[in-house]
């Protein structure tokens, strides 16, 4: 791997992922942005679209996957082969669901910013990325920590303004019931 050049590219892609995350924040969505890169080309980019679609599974990664699939259709490429050589750049550790999806697609490498303490599927809550699951695609590598503080700050900003769409926390209710 050509070290310097590769690093500079990676930086540019992560920058773009952060731009997507900021766009999500501006739209009242959880600030996560991502890019899917194949052969030095961006085939898909996504940001969280849960509120927009009323579908709680529309995370940035899932949105980007659909773009890659559309590109494959347009360019008569086999998605299986494309995903096997695609790198995901994402501002936050993929959640358990997305980690499962990335395994099923056999994406080999994920570069991400901060840990996802609430839902993380690459070590924080579970390690779907590395677990031994013979029937669920392949395991994948992770490179973590890119601009992590900035990614955390964005999440904090989002959760501070409190998602008006989220149902009231059950945990909190329980606490106040105990007396």
């Amino acid at each position: 791997m050509g070290g310097g050049e590769e690093a500079a590219k990676r930086q540019r892609w992560m920058e773009e992922a952060f731009r997507m995350a900021k766009e999500a924040l501006g739209n009242g969505e959880v600030p996560v942005g991502c890019l899917m890169v194949y052969n030095n080309t961006v085939l898909g980019q996504g940001r969280n679209e849960v509120n927009e679609t009323k579908n709680a599974t529309r995370h940035a990664e899932m949105v980007a996957v659909d773009q890659v699939l559309a590109w494959c259709r347009q360019n008569c490429k086999n998605p299986v082969e494309v995903f096997e050589q695609t790198v995901l750049y994402v501002t936050v550790e993929p959640c358990i669901m997305c980690a499962g999806a990335l395994r099923l697609l056999k994406i080999p490498l994920v570069v991400y910013g901060c840990q996802n303490e609430r839902f993380g599927g690459c070590g924080s809550v579970l390690n779907i990325a590395a677990d031994d699951l013979l029937g669920t695609g392949t395991s994948f590598e992770c490179i973590a920590g890119y601009r992590a503080e900035e990614a955390v700050e964005m999440l904090k900003t989002f959760y501070k303004q409190e998602n008006p769409n989220a149902p009231k926390s059950k945990a909190r209710k329980k606490d106040s019931d105990e007396s």
């Binding site: 709680a56 980690a99 029937g135």
Partner: protein, 359 residues
């Protein structure tokens, strides 16, 4: 004032009395419904070694409990009773008392009372020779665990009645089971329709249990060139469509359908599902809903159900990498912000046949 009514009748039936009337629910149901419990609830109890001693003089019991507890508080073992009636009826002493945990290195050799109870703090007069016992290390969570634990040393038990009912197969009435069967039959039917078009034979049905209404049904759509369109993901999106959202187009799969939502009639929790405009529904689309699915969801689908705030999942047959019981128990996963109930075994045989037929 209703809330001040005494809990009178509740106490009448002794909890130790097992209900022998095992209702053999409707003859047409050849399947059993099994709750998929958390790791903690389903595991066998683990045991620790401890020292106990006979109480030779019953009159001394309360003093001994006080003094021994002050020295050995057994803080992490609050579920253990300190004193038990002697197991051996022929024994000259009626009671036995738990003193303290045994250290692993002291294997074989049982220390004397003076070694276990510091003189000056405990007057061991009234206690007999210490002996080793096995005690349960954690509080029992289910009745089977309680029975196993109590066989070693008496424990307290805060019974979760729902779980007990589920374990004895009494949680659901015959009518409910008949309804469950109908929903699963629909899931099987839609799975077959999907399989006829080259998809994996998996079907799913979303139900609002408050209204008993089928909201959406769908099958695996991986043949549509999207390897992530498992039946659960399809159904979650169909519910989103129903609420004016959605991300995919299922026009080429007419069996994947939803019932249009009637404004102001969305079943459970209608008030907080609608926004200020009173029309669009919020994204936690499956709050209060049940999912019937022919086989156990994978990790992606199971977590999608957490994100969607599902209430209960019923599946027919387990999957090798399944995430609601087999490999993970996402529905009881600590640290996640939403948990839900899972039951397996609904029309298990038919669901298994479905899988074999289309393999």
């Amino acid at each position: 004032m209703k809330e001040h009514m005494p809990p009178s009748q509740e106490d009448e039936g002794s909890p130790a009395e097992p209900k022998c009337k095992r209702r053999r629910s409707s003859e047409s149901c050849s399947w059993d419904i099994l709750p998929v419990l958390s790791e903690e609830e389903s595991q066998r109890i683990t045991l620790l070694q401890a020292y106990a001693a006979p109480v030779l003089s019953k009159k001394e019991t309360s003093r001994l409990v006080r003094e021994v507890s002050a020295v050995h508080s057994l803080k992490s073992l609050q579920h253990l009773k300190r004193v038990r009636a002697c197991k051996d009826r022929g024994s000259p002493h009626p009671l036995e008392m738990l003193l303290c945990l045994a250290l692993a290195k002291e294997k074989g050799h049982v220390p004397s009372l003076s070694e276990l109870l510091p003189e000056g703090q405990v007057n061991s007069c009234g206690l007999g020779q210490p002996f080793l016992v096995l005690v349960p290390s954690c509080p029992p969570l289910t009745r089977p665990q309680f029975q196993e634990a109590s066989a070693h040393w008496p424990t307290s038990f805060h019974e979760n009645k729902e779980v007990t009912k589920a374990l004895t197969g009494q949680q659901f009435s015959r009518e409910e089971k008949a309804r469950m069967q109908r929903y699963m039959e629909q899931a099987i039917e839609v799975a077959q329709q999907g399989a006829e078009r080259g998809n994996e034979a998996v079907g799913a049905v979303f139900v609002d249990p408050a209204t008993e209404e089928v909201l959406a049904m769908g099958h695996d759509c991986r043949k549509s060139n999207n390897p992530l369109l498992h039946a659960t993901m399809v159904c979650i999106d169909l519910v989103a469509h129903r609420q004016g959202g959605g991300a995919y187009n299922f026009d080429s799969y007419p069996s994947c359908s939803f019932v249009a939502s009637v404004k102001g009639n969305s079943g459970t929790g209608a008030a907080d599902l609608f926004d200020d405009a009173g029309s669009s529904v919020l994204p936690y689309i499956c709050t209060g809903y049940d999912l019937y699915i022919t086989r156990e969801p994978c990790i992606m689908c199971a977590m999608a159900l957490v994100h969607s705030r599902i209430q209960r999942v019923f599946y027919g047959t387990p999957s090798p990498d399944g995430a609601l019981g087999t490999r993970y128990k996402i529905h009881t996963q600590k640290d996640l912000n939403h948990h839900f109930q899972v039951f397996r075994g609904i029309l298990e045989e038919q669901c298994q046949q479905l899988r074999e037929k289309w393999h």
